[in-house]
């Protein structure tokens, strides 16, 4: 087996294990340039992640991020999409799990109990998109200052901000 086909075989193995465990109807599958993506509703997310970690050997959460698809051409699914990139170090397989959330008070269950490394990544997603992760031990802003109120990577937030960058006292030479 060549190195190029090894991840594909590992993906097939992961899919077979998931099919045996879940059956149909829990997630839908799409592929793009060798990436295997599982779309899962919010209610089954933790279940799927737990199965991937414990049954399929995807022990490593490589990345956790989100995207805002507001105004995206041809978009029919939810506005926000949170993705989890999981890797299996033994077989070299990787899976991307995607979960959609919608605008008024978007929230998802936290992956922190499964992977403690999700701590700061979930905080970053919260900071940039305002998606709350239920069960996260310390969900507060990580990049923007604490007094910042907006979520800057949302598509309806203007690039130049709403004047936060100019909201400081002006020091003159006579006063300082």
């Amino acid at each position: 087996m060549s190195a190029a086909t090894a991840p594909h075989a590992a993906q097939a193995q992961i899919l077979a294990t998931l099919a045996a465990h879940f059956g149909d109807g829990v997630f839908s599958i799409s592929r793009f340039r060798g990436n295997l993506r599982l779309f899962v509703p919010k209610s089954r997310l933790v279940e799927l992640l737990t199965a991937l970690k414990q049954q399929c050997g995807c022990t490593y959460l490589a990345e956790l991020g989100a995207a805002d698809y507001l105004g995206y051409p041809g978009r029919t699914r939810n506005r926000f999409e949170v993705h989890y990139v999981l890797r299996n170090f033994d077989t070299g397989g990787s899976v991307i799990v995607k979960a959609g959330v919608d605008d008024p008070d978007p929230s998802l269950p936290s992956a922190y109990p499964l992977w403690p490394g999700a701590d700061w990544m979930e905080r970053e997603v919260f900071d940039m998109y305002g998606i709350r992760f239920e069960g996260h031990p310390d969900l507060r802003r990580i990049l923007m200052p604490d007094e910042f109120t907006a979520f800057p990577l949302r598509k309806d937030y203007p690039l130049r901000g709403r004047g936060e960058r100019h909201n400081f006292p002006k020091l003159t030479r006579a006063e300082s």
Partner: protein, 233 residues
């Protein structure tokens, strides 16, 4: 004996002293004595021993390190003592973009520096925000702290930084006093402008660049220019 030391009272005086012609009615100034003002002497001492505070946040900081190294050698201008405590510095060099989370830190460090103090805004980002016209980057540190010298460039050449040091030295000589830094008249005018602008409610004052309309006889489309949200931001 012929070798006896001479005992005349004239011995020991300098031979040429008799040639000094002192104008009558004027106080006599001895040789090697200069008259000047205290402010001037203090400023002269001060300008050759600037202690920079390198507020380096980005790639401009790397150029600043190059200026400190042997090839460009900021020590030739007496400004080589970079201190990382603001209490020991009198020249702040803001090198690099200042994020909006960093601005309170910058202001605090500026307030911690003892008087007299000067500030160089180094590079496009520190002076104007540069290419980073986003919500997170302050569009010029001179909006919030007084700046004496701006350096253009992205990043500036080390020679430009040396030029800025020399400009600061000139400013120290001209504007400094014994007990502080009163600044040059144009800087004080700018401060008055800033204070007036700060006290003006949005929409009430005439924007600065719109004031040129009457002077140069052109008219910017869009009606009379007033200080809008964009200018007061």
């Amino acid at each position: 004996m012929a070798m006896n030391p001479p005992t005349s009272p004239a011995f020991g005086q300098r031979a040429g002293s008799d040639l000094i012609i002192t104008p009558s009615g004027q106080p006599e100034v001895p040789e090697n004595v200069f008259l000047t003002t205290m402010d001037s002497v203090v400023s002269w001492c001060r300008k050759y021993s600037l202690w920079p505070m390198p507020f380096a946040t980005a790639c401009c900081g790397i150029e600043l390190m190059a200026v400190g190294a042997s090839r460009f050698d900021i020590a030739r201008f007496g400004a080589e003592v970079m201190r990382f405590s603001p209490r020991q510095c009198d020249l702040m060099i803001v090198a690099g973009r200042v994020a909006m989370k960093m601005m309170p830190v910058l202001q605090r460090i500026w307030l911690q520096m003892p008087e007299p103090k000067w500030c160089i805004s180094m590079g496009a980002c520190a002076s104007t925000g540069g290419i980073f016209d986003t919500y997170a980057v302050v569009q010029g540190v001179d909006r919030f702290i007084p700046v004496d010298v701006y350096i253009p460039g992205c990043p500036p050449r080390p020679e430009q930084i040396l030029r800025a040091i020399m400009d600061i030295q000139e400013k120290v000589q001209k504007g400094g006093t014994t007990f502080g830094n009163e600044g040059l008249p144009e800087l004080r005018a700018r401060e008055r402008y800033m204070i007036a602008q700060r006290d003006t409610a949005p929409g009430a004052g005439i924007a600065d660049e719109r004031g040129d309309e009457a002077r140069f006889g052109y008219r910017i489309p869009g009606g009379p220019g007033r200080l809008g949200l964009e200018e007061t931001r």
